[in-house]
């Protein structure tokens, strides 16, 4: 299956090791990634889409139009990009009057929104378009004994009628995906709580630390070795954010946070170094020893 690869902003700018790994791993599962020139920021939902909705809608429509020109569905690596693009795609498909207004502006950039493609988050592509059976078939080194707390994130879950990803109050899709790799998924307190990204950027840092402390403590008490995420901001928050919260709250444990694609690559036999673990802030010798044993 072929998709237009929507990298977004945060991954290419701050976490390029995830971009690199996705390019390497996803095609091995039958997900062909078409590199598209001309994509921009989705735009970012909190800082850009909301304060000036019409501009946000036109910028999204431009990205969607570019994918339509390639005639492939979009695949994203980010909850925020999926949230923005899916909402605008649906809105413009339903509201022809708005579509005309948007297209009038888009004409200035030689693009037109037609409404011919879908927006897919990579976790949905892997679990539905490809399927867990294929994923299980690619596992060379089952992550046996590894206990993983998955954090789904807010914007992929709600509004559920648009996002169509999982139950916002009881998300389990990622648990199934972790299980497919041979690891043990965990239920934990604060599972549906936000990562705190916006709170740490627009609110008070101490509150964001407390939020993250509660969430991490919930994961740790459930027995987690590590955290699984599917969104770059969640990754930044659970990695760099965890380092800062850990210092401020004097947490006596560390839970490395990895992107699902990294777990997938480990289960396919790639080393921690090859998946870019070295560029993460939170590292833990217990986790490394477990992975070492699995890959040995």
């Amino acid at each position: 299956m072929r998709y237009s690869f929507f990298k977004g902003c945060f991954i290419p700018i701050r976490q390029p090791h995830i971009e690199k790994l996705a390019h390497k791993i996803l095609p091995e599962l039958g997900v062909e990634l078409d590199t598209v020139t001309g994509f921009t920021c989705c735009p970012e939902p909190m800082g850009v889409s909301l304060p000036h909705k019409f501009t946000g809608t036109v910028i999204s429509a431009r990205n969607l139009a570019i994918a339509e020109e390639k005639d492939n569905d979009i695949i994203t690596l980010c909850n925020g990009c999926t949230y923005t693009l899916k909402q605008v795609n649906l809105q413009l498909k339903q509201d022809t009057e708005l579509r005309d207004k948007v297209n009038e502006v888009l004409a200035e950039t030689d693009h037109q929104f037609k409404g011919t493609i879908k927006v897919r988050h990579f976790a949905k592509v892997l679990s539905e378009d490809i399927g867990l059976e294929i994923i299980r078939g690619k596992v060379e080194k089952p992550l046996k004994g590894l206990k993983v707390a998955s954090h789904t994130g807010c914007h992929i879950l709600s509004p559920p009628e648009v996002m169509e990803f999982d139950d916002p109050l009881n998300p389990v899709r990622l648990d199934g995906m972790i299980k497919a790799l041979g690891a043990e998924p965990l239920d934990y307190s604060y599972k549906t709580q936000c990562c705190g990204w916006t709170l740490s950027n627009f609110g008070d840092r101490a509150s964001a630390n407390r939020l993250l402390g509660d969430k991490l403590r919930g994961m740790y008490d459930a027995g987690a070795d590590s955290v699984n995420v599917i969104c770059p901001q969640c990754l930044a928050q659970l990695d760099t954010g965890q380092m800062m919260a850990g210092r401020a709250l004097k947490l006596d444990f560390k839970l490395p946070a990895l992107f699902y694609v990294q777990y997938l690559a480990l289960a396919m036999g790639y080393s921690l170094e090859e998946v870019g673990y070295g560029s993460h802030r939170v590292k833990d010798s217990g986790f490394e020893a477990k992975i070492g044993g699995i890959l040995a």
């Binding site: 970012e44 800082g47 709600s158 709580q193």
Partner: protein
């Protein structure tokens, strides 16, 4: 006391009148682990929650706390009476930008997107990391400036900047 908040939302089809009627049961903010992340800020209490603060503010679009809302929609999902504080807060964010109340970080991010195509600044570290991984450099895009000019955003940002200078 019940909060009865009529408000106007700017939509592509004109101004829409809406209202949120909150009975102040607190469910959206006090169910730990399932409700509003902004409630973690120490200024909010079970008796004066984040949502009451946003809905009940005298000048809601000038309330800087609206920017703590992440649009996680938990308030809407938890509310037993189908109130949607998130819709109100989002409408206030748009009004805030128009009225010159948006924080500098928001204005900066809007400017960054329309001039470069990206919401986050491309730093020397970005360039270094991408080079090390053998990835091509991030390409800037200037088409969004054309869009922002046409939608009026560019003019608005310039006038906000002038007012500030």
């Amino acid at each position: 006391m019940v909060l009865n908040i009529p408000y106007s939302v700017k939509t592509p089809h004109g101004i829409k009148e809406a209202a949120e009627i909150c009975l102040k049961c607190g469910v959206c903010c006090v169910i730990e682990g399932y409700s509003c992340p902004a409630q973690y800020d120490a200024q909010f209490k079970p008796t004066q929650t984040y949502v009451y603060d946003c809905l009940g503010h005298e000048e809601p679009s000038g309330n800087k706390n609206i920017w703590q809302c992440v649009s996680c929609h938990k308030c809407e999902e938890m509310c037993p009476y189908e109130v949607s504080p998130v819709d109100f807060i989002e409408a206030m964010k748009e009004q805030a930008l128009q009225g010159g109340h948006a924080p500098q970080s928001i204005i900066g991010e809007l400017m960054q997107v329309i001039t470069t195509g990206y919401a986050f600044p491309i730093t020397p570290n970005t360039t270094r990391q991408r080079e090390r991984l053998g990835l091509e450099p991030v390409k800037l895009n200037h088409e969004l400036g054309i869009i922002a000019e046409k939608t009026g955003l560019l003019e608005l940002l310039n006038s906000l900047k002038e007012a500030q200078d």
